[in-house]
Amino acid sequence: MKEDDYIKKLKSTTEYTGVHPKRFALWLGMASMTMFFAALTSALILKKGDYKVWENFKLPVSFMYSTVAIVLVSVIMHFSYIAYKKAKFAAFRWLLFLGFLLGIGFLLLQYFGWAALNSIGKPITGNISGQFIYLISSLHGFHIVVGLIVTFIFLIFAFRARKDEAFEFKNIANPSRLLHMELLVTFWHFIDIVWIYLYLFFYYNYI
């Protein structure tokens, strides 16, 4: 049985109800990640409440810039996806590339944020209030790294397809890749929102 026949058979007999299973799986994954960050931030609230040594301080400005950066990543990724959907592959490629660079920029800004924390006397071994910022932002950064890796794989495909029509047809211009792109963009939106939440959470817990 050839693959085509196989897929035809699948289509004729397996009907998924409502949401596409992969999209649904991503939503579940986001629920799981939400629980992860909920656990981390509730640990912070617990600590803040029961320990008298908690020190408040002003968040380094770098974290504000990184917040702007990640919002931009999200917006750019979204436009990249729209371009993809309309089969404007050149725009898709370059926007994706820009988003990728800004993603790296976000991580750099986070790093500058840690450096600034260190310089204002909040090293990682210092007061527990500062420790939480290192902890939570680096664990969030780990999710960004995963997003960047997947984006990078997409970029390789996108740029290889530039001069190779057969490759483009097989790996870019097909609905399954479009779905994957949609899932990737959804993931970026998600970790964007998580960071905005974390930023506001820090902001209001440290004043």
């Binding site: 196989y6 299973p21 640990a43 320990y51 527990i128 902890l135």
Partner: protein, 604 residues
């Protein structure tokens, strides 16, 4: 458009049918047996890895039972195998703590979570809901290989110089929060590997869980409404939901712990003094870890027991030739257990100085969870009541499960009360309770499942005689090990030896009795392993191309015995009735894909 999208990862090579024992299929051997995306193969990979871990975890308990039973004897053979960990044939105390820690970790996570859920959710979800495979075969494969990587890391920690983790499977700080070997040798690299292995394990269980839920909710065949799902599927789906929502808390807990260990933060540590030196940690609280840990830890016991409950419901109904008693009540109880299990975690923490008013809330919810559990027990008994029981090994193990679950559950009611728990905390009473209710019971569910679905997996039967011997030794032995522990009042758990305590000397002979029983039960499990592998190759064959050896009604028995990729050669059968139509319309059983007879009213 998206239908095509869902299945681009399907391999064309897999569409041809394979003979199970065709090891000479050179072209795609790796894809067929190793990096396979087929749910049936992944199920077997999980099962066999789980069995490996079962033997390792069981063997560890045999070794520490030898120490406990005969603390003054020496066993030169141990020195042969473990060298300086058992110098002169006597287990060192560090080795003892490693054994206990790893025994708990391995059995809770690698056998009864990975091995149990991984095996049966993978095998049964696509078969019983009528799907070609999981929502994402690739993610499913990744799930197994993350589990494998976690296994390799965890196993490797036995072979490092400072030994495996030894601070308890619950990984409590502060003892596990400091990489100081003067405190505890297992707190060094061994515990770092433990954390790494657990992180990999959590990723594995999440990848699997996302797949299970997405598959059940989105890939059911025509006519398979939620209320026509077999109880196994309900159990696996809610197990996955529990895992998805609670494992992140464990990941957060161990992330903080590893930060403390490697980067010098102090989330869990506060003013620690070692050898008279005050360490530089300030502001942390070890109780924070317990909150995060038990937020997973308690749902975890339901992650272990729910799949066993699902399997037992199915096996009891099939072999009693009767519909399950109270299907809706069973489904609602599963849901209730899932919800309440998130609200009981602090009953593990009654002795941490928890506010008694807060403890009262947790006592309330803990006792509440007995209600759905009891409903399930009544329904299982209702199912076998006046049935035409076939007392074959799967059925015996299923009945054994109910027996164990009742015995262990009753002591749960005692421990759930904070006033009693404070007396019993960290004694052998607790050991008896959780080993019976979620250790032995979950194993019984797993055995019931293996004996029952072995014909589905390998097209052969397991040997019945060996199965009976296995069952009776395990049942009697299981009670012999854990029942006496209820009466060892005040005996603290995890102690290396009791010889220094005059007050416990009257338990000496009981301790020896338990150790002997433990060794016998372990040996009986070898029978099972032998039976399993022997039957794969030499077991009695299932006859016929579309055999339904037990007369089951669910869809997995409508697929051909030969395992083919996609499960059914033609169209997927559509479903017309609920999964428990036994003794209706003058027939012994009717499978789910048979349309209603004229004038027949569907069971609602």
């Amino acid at each position: 458009m998206e239908t095509i999208a869902a299945h681009t990862t399907v391999h064309t090579e897999h569409t041809t049918s394979h003979d199970d024992h065709d090891h000479h299929h050179e072209a795609s051997w790796l894809e067929t047996y190793v990096f396979c995306q087929d749910h049936k193969t992944i199920a077997k990979q999980f099962l066999i890895t789980g069995m490996f871990w079962g033997v390792v975890g069981g063997l560890l308990s045999v070794i520490f039972r030898m120490q406990l039973g005969w603390p003054n004897e020496t066993f030169p053979i141990l020195e042969t195998f473990f060298g300086r960990w058992a110098e002169g044939g006597k287990i060192s105390n560090e080795f003892y703590y490693s054994l206990v820690t790893m025994h708990g970790t391995i059995l809770v996570f690698f056998v009864l979570t990975g091995g149990l859920s991984g095996t049966f959710a993978n095998l049964l979800i696509p078969y019983q809901i009528g799907a070609r495979d999981m929502a994402s075969g690739f993610m499913n494969m990744l799930s197994y290989w993350f589990f494998f990587a976690a296994s390799v890391v965890m196993f490797s920690s036995f072979f490092i110089q400072t030994g495996a983790a030894s601070g308890g499977w619950t990984a409590y700080p502060p003892i596990n929060g400091i990489r100081d070997l003067a405190v505890n040798k297992g707190s060094g690299l061994g515990f770092d590997l433990w954390i790494l292995a657990m992180a990999l394990f959590i990723v594995s269980s999440l990848l699997g869980g996302l797949n299970y839920v997405a598959t059940v909710l989105n890939l059911r065949t025509k006519g398979m409404t939620m209320m026509r799902l077999p109880l196994t599927i309900w159990a696996f789906m809610f197990t996955a939901v529990l895992g998805i929502l609670s494992f992140p808390a464990l990941l957060a807990a161990v992330s903080l712990l590893e930060f403390d260990r490697l980067l010098g933060t102090s989330f869990y540590l506060n003013q620690i003094i070692i050898n008279g030196n005050l360490l530089d940690y300030k502001g942390g609280s070890p109780v924070l870890f317990q909150h995060l840990f038990w937020f997973l830890g308690h749902p975890e016991v339901y992650i272990i027991i729910l799949p066993a409950m699902g399997i037992v419901s199915e096996v009891l109904s099939v072999h009693a030739r009767k519909p399950i008693f109270g299907y809706r009540a069973m489904v609602v109880s599963i849901m209730a257990i899932v919800i309440i299990s998130f609200l009981v975690w602090a009953h593990h923490m009654f002795v941490t100085g928890l506010n008694p008013n807060l403890a009262a809330v947790f006592v309330l919810f803990t006792l509440l969870i007995a209600v759905p559990s009891a409903i399930k027990v009544f329904n299982w008994i209702g199912t076998i009541w006046r049935g035409s029981l076939r007392l074959n090994p799967p059925m015996l193990f299923a009945i054994g499960f109910v027996s164990m679950f009742i015995s262990g559950g009753l002591t749960g009611l005692m421990l759930g009360n904070s006033a009693i728990d404070i007396q019993l905390h960290d004694t052998y009473f607790v050991v008896a309770h959780f080993h019976i209710v979620m250790g032995v019971a979950a194993f019984f569910g797993m055995f019931a499942g293996v004996y029952h679905w072995f014909p589905r997996m390998y097209g052969r039967f397991m040997n019945d005689t060996l199965g009976y011997i296995h069952f009776y030794i395990t049942l009697i032995g299981g009670y012999a090990i854990f029942f006496p522990m209820h009466f060892m009042t005040g005996l603290p758990r995890r102690y290396y030896a009791f010889s220094n305590f005059e007050t416990f000397s009257n338990f000496d002979s009981l301790v020896v009795f338990i150790s002997i029983a433990a060794i016998i039960v372990f040996l009986a499990q070898i029978l099972f392993i032998v039976n399993f592998f022997y039957s794969i190759f030499k077991g009695r064959k299932v006859e016929g191309e579309y055999a339904n050896p037990w007369g089951g009604t669910t869809l997995e028995w409508t697929a051909p015995v030969a395992r083919i990729h996609g499960n059914w050669p033609g169209e997927i059968p559509s479903v017309h009735r609920w999964p428990y139509d036994y003794s209706v319309n003058g027939k012994e059983y009717i499978t789910q894909d048979v349309p209603l007879a004229p004038g027949e009213v569907e069971h609602k």
